[in-house]
């Protein structure tokens, strides 16, 4: 204990007080006149049997099933929609013409190459005497 703490302790003890007989009697009389307030008791929790748990579970499941059933029953009936002929509905596109237009130069080139190849083949045959 440090110096200040010791000084404070000693100085507190130097304060001389005593409960007088008169005060003692007053306190005693007041205490006897007082009725302590009763503790506000909480109601004891009710112990629920296991059956309660099962009952609540089953009720919950039944309620869920009922909700699903109601939602499905109220849904509008589906009407049969005839299949759509996509080929008939889509306008024909002249793909062939377009392809021909795009590939014509290549085809001509191929024909020329094949002709050159054929000529070269005949020339080789003539040279070797076949």
């Amino acid at each position: 204990m440090d110096k200040l703490a010791k000084q404070l302790r000693a100085d507190a003890e130097r304060i001389d007080v005593s409960v007088s007989d008169e005060l003692d009697r007053r306190i005693d009389a007041s205490l006897r006149a007082v009725t302590p307030e009763a503790e506000a008791r909480r109601p004891a929790p009710i112990a629920r049997p296991p059956l309660f748990w099962w009952a609540s579970t089953i009720t919950g499941i039944a309620a869920a099933i009922a909700v699903i059933a109601i939602v499905n029953l109220r849904a509008p009936e589906r009407q049969d929609i005839p299949p759509v002929d996509l080929v008939a509905t889509v306008p024909p596109i002249d793909l062939k013409a377009e392809t021909a237009m795009l590939t014509a130069p290549l085809q001509e080139e191929l024909d020329r190459l094949q002709s050159d190849l054929k000529k070269a083949e005949e020339k080789v045959k003539k040279d070797i005497g076949l």
Binding site: L4, D11, A12, I15, I27
Partner: protein, 183 residues
């Protein structure tokens, strides 16, 4: 079960005798503390009486995790605060209400010729810090209990005990310097 717990149980059951036995050892300690916060000895006695009555009336709310003395001091501090009537709301500290010549604390100090630090503390500390210092150094209460008694946080109690100490140490040093200067 300790004797105190047995008495508490009996008092909770409504025994005024058990309660009187329970608080017998605390009455003078409480009165000494209340005297430092009251304008007169009679006021301190009245607050003590009210404190004990309230404690008995509401004993059912006592939580045995607390020290009984901490709970009693908490009630005493609240009752002492009621000494400040609404008409005196502007009065900062109880000390202002005291008649300097009839200061009950001054009158109760044995060997009053030498300086008593609690008198000085009352002048330089505010009410709450003074109470915290009293509970710590006169009642040897833990910081945690002080915080509970004053309805404050533990950190508040720590900080203010430190501040109170610093102020009092400065005061002690100043007083020592003065006495040296005057020979």
């Amino acid at each position: 079960m300790t004797d105190e717990l047995k008495l508490i149980a009996a008092a909770k059951a409504g025994s005024a005798d058990a309660f009187a036995d329970l608080v017998r050892g605390y009455r003078e300690r409480l009165l000494r503390f209340l005297l430092t916060r009251s304008p007169s000895y009679a006021d301190a006695e009245d607050v003590l009486q009210d404190t004990l009555i309230n404690a008995f009336r509401y004993l059912h709310s006592y939580d045995s995790r607390w020290r009984f003395s901490t709970w009693l001091y908490r009630i005493a501090i609240r009752n002492a605060a009621k000494l400040r009537s609404p008409d005196l709301a502007d009065v900062a500290i109880v000390g202002d209400l005291r008649d300097e010549e009839n200061d009950p604390l001054q009158q109760c100090i044995v060997d009053s010729e030498s300086d008593n630090l609690w008198l000085s503390a009352r002048e330089v500390l505010n009410d709450e810090v003074y109470a915290a210092m009293w509970l710590r150094y006169a009642e040897d209460m833990s910081v945690k209990d002080i915080a509970k008694a004053l309805d404050r946080s533990t950190s508040w109690a720590k900080v203010n005990l430190m501040r109170g100490r610093r102020v009092l140490e400065t005061h002690m040093n100043d007083a020592a310097d003065k006495s040296e200067a005057y020979g």
